[in-house]
């Protein structure tokens, strides 16, 4: 049973990486981006393509490249369509679902429908024995990556000028604009970072298993739940909720079976929302809605 702990932690790490991007696009900007899953897929295929260039080091090289690729895709989407829909989150859901259909089919046409494998770097072969449990290095790498991303985002949001502008726009768009913040520029950058993080998450997912055109769809529902349970746009909330969901999932799976675990997790979240309807951490404001 103690073996479930690293499994749960690495699921939590992957979930967290995906949810971090959503904290930006959904949490900060109120856009329900269903195409986020396809940005994950784009990141994963970036690692797959880079194998020709860098052999088994592809995963490391892919991390920054996938960030750029997925970020650029997000930026294009924001410029072409999403910016007309700010303040209408439910319409963005429909719109981006259309985009996600097109991107998935595009991946199927470009790379074929069957799943492909990305070779894990030789450095990450083997397992770490720790106490009574063993952790594959690949899983450990995902956890470390998640922690590193959280640290980087925390620094960005709380210590950089640009991050302060982003928070200002989120809390009060009009007031931020009056104070001289170019809100449109901030929106673009926020969306770029959020989408780019999806690319990073995609690279991490290549370490867990084979990848295919519908890679993102499998994770996206859970990742949105993490953001809902954690509280909109709250970094602390996303971290705690991802940990809770990942651990709960793996332990319930151990006690019952994989299919019941999903139901238990869902019931747990609805129960949790009875206590904290707006998630773990709420940004206090006097606004009514």
């Amino acid at each position: 049973m103690i073996d479930q702990l690293p499994v749960g932690l690495s699921i939590a790490g992957a979930l967290l990486l995906i949810a971090l991007g959503l904290t930006f696009t959904f949490g900060q900007m109120g856009v329900i981006n269903m195409a986020h899953g396809e940005f994950i897929m784009a990141g994963a295929y970036t690692a797959y393509l880079l194998q020709d260039l860098a052999d088994d080091k592809a995963v490391f090289l892919a991390l920054p490249v996938a960030f750029g690729v997925a970020g650029a895709m997000g930026l294009i989407l924001e410029r072409l369509a999403i910016r007309r829909f700010y303040g209408r989150p439910l319409d963005t859901l429909l719109l981006t679902w259309g985009v996600s259909l097109v991107l998935q089919q595009l991946a199927r046409d470009l790379f074929g429908a069957p799943n492909v494998n990305v070779t894990a770097p030789g450095l990450l072969e083997g397992r770490l024995a720790l106490g009574g449990m063993t952790i594959p290095y690949t899983r450990l790498f995902i956890m470390v990556l998640a922690v590193a991303c959280v640290a980087a985002i925390w620094l960005y949001m709380n210590r950089s000028r640009q991050g302060r502008r982003m928070r200002a726009v989120m809390q009060n768009r009009e007031l931020a604009a009056c104070s001289g913040v170019v809100t449109e520029r901030v929106d673009q950058l926020t969306f770029f970072i959020g989408s780019g993080l999806a690319g990073v998450a995609g690279v991490a997912l290549t370490l867990i298993g084979p990848i295919g055109p519908s890679l993102g769809t499998n994770y996206i529902v859970d990742a949105f739940l993490v953001v809902v349970a954690g509280g909109l746009g709250r970094l602390r909330g996303a971290v705690l909720a991802a940990l809770a969901l990942g651990l709960l999932n793996s332990f319930v799976e151990f006690w019952t079976d994989a299919s019941s675990a999903k139901v238990v997790v869902f019931v747990a979240i609805v129960a949790f929302l009875q206590v904290r309807p707006q998630g773990m951490f709420v940004l206090r404001s006097r606004a009514l809605t």
């Binding site: 959904f26 109120g30 329900i32 369509a81 007309r84 989150p89 439910l90 319409d91 859901l93 429909l94 719109l95 679902w97 259309g98 985009v99 996600s100 259909l101 097109v102 998935q104 089919q105 199927r108 046409d109 769809t217 529902v221 859970d222 949105f224 739940l225 809902v228 079976d257 994989a258 299919s259 019941s260 999903k262 139901v263 997790v265 869902f266 979240i269 609805v270 929302l273 009875q274 309807p277 009514l288 809605t289």
Partner: protein, 372 residues
């Protein structure tokens, strides 16, 4: 004078509605069965089943503002209730459904036992979706979880439901679902006359549910619902409880999806998880968006059209269909957020304005007094 004129336009509007309803009823009840061969008629019955579920979405989402991405769950609950009854009928008393034999189940699970009775099964088709929707709705709406949060929760429900169905192979038939029915209420489903009977049942149920939904929307309850959609907090300040109104509406829309699922099983002959998950649920919602979410008739039209397009195009041209479907959504959401029904209304308004601008003096006078 102005009241009179208003009364007149209202009457003509209502009369137009009746004429349209009668025309569609005539088309579906008399013309379609005569003109279509049995295979096409069966397909039309299938589309109309989806239209019933779409009607429920139109009610919950269009009128009540609850974007439900989990209607597949309720469709599935209704479908499985019907499927379980039919399977047990085929197995005979004391027998086991075929898939249970294959997966090594030796005794009928207690959950299945009551479904031997057709009355119990048909009651559960409505009761089960209503119960699930009412519990979820009450818990969620009472805490003022709404909008995007509600959409995400309902989507997660669909995902969890399908994973559970697939996982419980011995209980639910797993990925294959329930299929191979040989005896449907004493009729042979292969028989042409049986298919025809099912078709008429579906049309009549759809018509009845449409009238019910329309009545609900026109009533005081319906006005309250629209008011909640447009300003939930204001309605709360007026002393109403939005959670109750929303829960009732959500439960009604779940019941419609359940009935649709139960009709789908004898019409198509299968119910399986592939029909119920995140993707089919969202597809149904998008069909409503394309038909016109603010109009009940638009929701039905969208349900029929999109499923027709899906079946016809995806068989001959699967890759192209996905691009077309995705592109269509993007276009509709960006250019015509009120869907086909919205476009029709706009065209109607345009025509009326043209007519008003025509130099017929008395008509122009009367129009002036009617606030547009």
């Amino acid at each position: 004078m102005s009241v009179l004129a208003q009364g007149r336009t209202l009457l003509t509007g209502r009369a137009r509605g009746y004429v349209l309803f009668a025309a569609v009823a005539l088309l579906l009840l008399a013309i379609a069965p005569a003109a279509l061969d049995p295979f096409r008629l069966g397909l039309l019955a299938k589309y109309l089943c989806f239209a019933i579920a779409a009607l429920g979405i139109g009610l919950a989402w269009g009128q009540g503002g609850m974007m439900t991405l989990g209607q597949g769950v309720f469709f599935g609950l209704g479908g499985y209730c019907m499927g379980m009854y039919l399977k047990l009928k085929d197995a005979g008393s004391g027998g086991l459904p075929d898939f249970m034999v294959w997966s090594g189940v030796e005794e009928l699970p207690a959950l299945w036992e009551p479904f031997r009775s057709p009355f119990f099964a048909l009651t559960m088709v409505v009761v089960l979706p209503v119960a699930v929707a009412a519990v979820l709705g009450l818990l969620v709406f009472r805490q003022r979880v709404r909008g995007a949060y509600f959409a995400i929760l309902s989507q997660a429900l669909a995902a969890a439901f399908v994973i559970w169905l697939v996982g419980q192979q011995g209980l639910t038939g797993g990925t294959n679902g329930l299929t191979n029915f040989y005896d449907v209420f004493g009729m042979d489903p292969e028989e042409e006359s049986t298919q025809r009977t099912f078709y008429f049942v579906v049309v009549v149920v759809l018509g009845a549910l449409y009238l019910l939904a329309r009545q609900l929307v026109k009533s005081r309850f319906g006005r309250l619902l629209v008011a909640i959609r447009d300003g939930e907090d204001r309605v709360r300040f007026l002393g109403y409880n939005p959670a109750t109104v929303k829960t009732i509406t959500f439960a009604v829309s779940a019941a419609m999806a359940g009935i649709a699922g139960a009709l789908y099983v004898p019409v198509v002959g299968i119910i399986s998880p592939a029909l119920l998950g995140v993707v089919p649920s969202i597809e149904l919602l998008v069909a409503v968006a394309i038909g016109g979410r603010f109009s009940l008739a638009g929701a039905i039209l969208g349900g029929v059209l999109m499923n027709w397009a899906h079946t016809t195009l995806s068989e001959n041209w699967p890759e192209g269909w996905t691009y077309l479907q995705g592109g269509l959504f993007i276009l509709v959401i960006m250019l015509a957020p009120k869907g086909i029904a919205g476009l029709v209304n706009q065209a109607g308004d345009l025509l009326a304005r043209r007519k008003a601008a025509a130099p017929s003096a008395p008509q122009a006078l009367a129009k002036e007094e009617v606030p547009v």
